[in-house]
Symmetry: C2
Subunit: 338 residues, 2 copies
DNA sequence: TTGAAAGCGCTAACAA
DNA sequence: TTGTTAGCGCTTTCAA
C-alpha cells in the first residue's frame, strides 16, 4: 500500500487482478463469487492489510449496520447487564451497538436521537414507552425501526419487549401484605416521563386496596434511582410523625441505599423497618441482610430486543413477543410482622 | 422534502437559493459565510427538517469525529464512572464516543479495534499498557492517535493518563502493616495481559519486604474482578492450613464478594479476617462493615483522557500529563491486630 | 464571500 | 460469474 494512506478496494482489486465489483462482492457476498476469485481477493486483502471503509460503505449502501440504544443510565447494574446481552446478541447478528445515556433527564433524549439519526443508524432501541412526541415523529419521519424495552406498550401497540411493572409491583405488595405489614411506604423512583414508576405505584395501590388499605400520599416518596435516593427516602420517612413498618423500593440501588442509611441511623433492618427492592441485581444477595426483591428478565430483554429490532430492519413478519415474567425473591430484608 | 426520502444538502441549498458549497459552509464553518446567507440556509434546514448525513460527511472529510474506547468490562462501576466522564467531556469537545468491552478477554481486543478502524474512528482510548503487538501495529499502520489509561507507561513513553498501581498497592500494604498484620493474603485480579495486577503484586511485595516479610505464593490468589471472584478467594484461603489475618483485594467488587462469603461461612469481618479493596466505588461505604480501600481518580482519568486524545488529534503540543494521585481510605473492614 | 466541480471509497444495477 | 459504471451526499479545492 502507498505509505501513509490506507489501501482502498481498488488497490485490492488491482493486486488480485479482478474488477472493483468482484472485489466488493468477494468481501460482501462471497457466495456470488468463484472460489478462485475469492481466494485471490482474500490474499490481496491480507497482503495489503486492507480494512474496509465504513463510511463509504454506508454512503453507498444506505445502511450502517449500527443500532442505537438510549438508556436512562449506564451505571445502574440492571441496564449494564441488559446492554451486555443486547450488544452481544446484536454482534452475533452482524450489528454494532451505539449506546448513550440521558442520565434520567428524558428531555435530552431527542437530542441524542437526532445525533444518532445523523450518524445513520439503522434502528433504535429505547427504554420505556413514555417519550416525547417529537421522538416518535423523528422516528417516523426517517422511517426508523425501533423497539421499546422493559415496559409493555399496551395502549399504543408499538413494538416492545418487556414485562408488566404493574404486575411485578402488585406481586411484591402482596408478598409484603402476606407478611403482615399494613403501614407501607414506597420509594418507586421518579415518575416524570417514566411509566414504569407510575405502573409500580398503581400496582402497589391495587394490591393494598385488595386488602382494604390505601397508600398514604406522604408515604409515596419520589427519589432518584440511586443509593443516595434511598438514603433520602429513609430520612424523609423518619422525619414524619407516623412510621411505616416496610419500605418498598423501586429498584435495588434505592433499597441498598436505604439499608445503609438505616444502619447509620441505628434502625434495625428488618427489625424496625423491612425493606424490599426490585430487579434482583447481583448485589442484592451480597448485602446484609440480603434483599427481598423482584427478579426481572434483564438478560432476556436485551437478547429479545436484539432479535426483534433486526427482524424489523429485515422487514420480517411481526414476531409477536409475549410479556416476560417476573417473580418475587424473598430474602432476609423483609420480616414477618407478628 | 420528497416523501419517504430524507432531504439532502442540495435540497437545502436550492430552497435557500445558494450553492451547495455555501450551504455546506453555513453548517460547518458559519464564520465564513455572510450573515444573510447563513440565515437563509438555517431557515431552509428548519423548514425541511434537514439532518446531515454522517457517512457522507465522513467520506468526504475523512473524519468521523468519533472516538473509540475499549474496556475490559462495562459492568465494573469503576469503569462505568470513568466512561461517563470520558463521554461527557468528549461530547463537550465535539466528539462522540463508541465503547466496547472485551470482557476481560484481552485476545478480543484486536478484533474490536479492527472493527473500529473500519468504522473510521478518529482515535482510540485503551485501558492499561499491556496490549498485543498487533494492536500497536494496527494503530501505527493507520496512524491512529491513542491514549492508554489508568496505568502509567513508564517504559515505553506512550501517551497515557493514569496513576501508579505500584504506589497505590504499596501504600495500602503499608496501611495494613501499620495495623499490625503479618499474615497477609492478596487477591489482585488476574495478571494475564494486565500490568495493573502485576504492579499491585509488586507494590505489595515491596512494602512487605520493607517490613521484613514476604508474600507467600499460596496467598497470591488470582481471581476474576467480580463478586464471585472474591467469594472464590475466600474459599481458597480457608481451604489452606494456615490462615491470613487480612485479605488485600484488587478491587472493591472482589472485596465485597469476599465479605459476603465470609458472612456465609460465619467468619467475622474484620474480627476474624480483615478485608481491603481498591478503587473506592460508591458501594464501598454502603456495605457493612464499610470497606477500607484506595481512592483512585476515576472521573479525572476520563476527563483528562478526553482532552489528551483530542489534542493528539489536533496535533497540539504533547501536553504532558503527570501521574494522578491516590489515597488510602480507612474504614471498618480493616482491624488493628493487637 | 461565493459557485462550480472534482472527488472521498464503496455498492448495486446493468450488461455482457 | 464478471466487468463497467453511475451514483450515495458531502467537503474542499480552485477561480471568480
Amino acid at each position: 500500500m502507498a505509505s501513509g494512506s490506507r489501501p482502498t478496494l481498488e488497490d485490492v482489486a488491482r493486486l488480485a487482478g479482478v474488477s472493483l465489483g468482484s472485489a466488493s462482492r468477494a468481501l460482501s457476498v462471497p457466495d456470488l463469487v468463484k472460489p478462485g476469485t475469492l481466494e485471490r481477493v482474500n490474499r490481496a486483502v491480507e497482503q495489503l492489510g486492507y480494512v474496509r471503509n465504513g463510511p463509504a460503505r454506508a454512503l453507498a449502501s444506505r445502511r450502517t449496520r449500527t443500532i442505537a440504544a438510549i438508556y436512562p443510565s449506564l451505571d445502574n447494574p440492571i441496564f449494564a447487564v441488559s446492554i451486555q446481552s443486547l450488544q452481544q446478541t446484536l454482534w452475533d447478528l452482524g450489528y454494532q451497538l451505539l449506546v448513550a445515556s440521558h442520565d434520567y433527564k428524558p428531555e435530552r433524549e431527542l437530542g441524542l436521537l437526532r445525533s444518532f439519526v445523523e450518524r445513520g443508524v439503522d434502528a433504535v432501541v429505547l427504554v420505556g414507552t413514555d417519550h416525547d412526541d417529537a421522538v416518535f415523529e423523528l422516528l417516523g419521519q426517517y422511517q426508523l425501526p425501533y423497539v421499546l424495552t422493559w415496559s409493555l406498550d399496551e395502549a399504543n401497540r408499538r413494538p416492545c419487549v418487556g414485562f408488566s411493572y404493574y404486575d411485578a409491583a402488585f406481586k411484591m405488595a402482596q408478598g409484603v401484605l402476606a407478611h403482615g405489614h399494613t403501614d407501607i411506604a414506597v420509594c418507586p423512583g421518579q415518575a416524570y416521563r417514566n411509566e414504569r414508576v407510575r405502573a409500580r405505584i398503581a400496582g402497589t395501590q391495587a394490591a393494598l386496596q385488595g386488602a382494604g388499605l390505601t397508600l398514604r400520599p406522604e408515604w409515596i416518596i419520589e427519589q432518584p434511582f440511586t443509593f443516595e435516593g434511598g438514603r433520602q427516602a429513609v430520612r424523609q420517612v423518619l422525619g414524619g410523625l407516623a412510621r411505616p413498618t416496610v419500605l418498598i423500593c423501586g429498584n435495588d440501588l434505592i433499597a441498598i441505599g436505604a439499608m445503609a442509611e438505616c444502619r447509620e441511623q441505628g434502625i434495625q433492618v428488618p427489625g424496625d423497618l423491612s425493606i424490599t427492592g426490585s430487579d434482583d441485581i447481583e448485589l442484592a444477595s451480597m448485602v446484609e441482610p440480603q434483599l427481598t426483591t423482584v427478579h426481572v428478565p434483564k438478560v432476556e430483554i436485551g437478547a429479545l430486543a436484539a432479535h426483534r429490532i433486526v427482524s424489523l430492519i429485515d422487514g420480517s413478519p411481526a414476531l409477536e413477543v409475549s410479556p416476560l415474567s417476573t417473580r418475587v425473591v424473598l430474602r432476609g430484608s423483609l420480616k414477618r410482622i407478628t
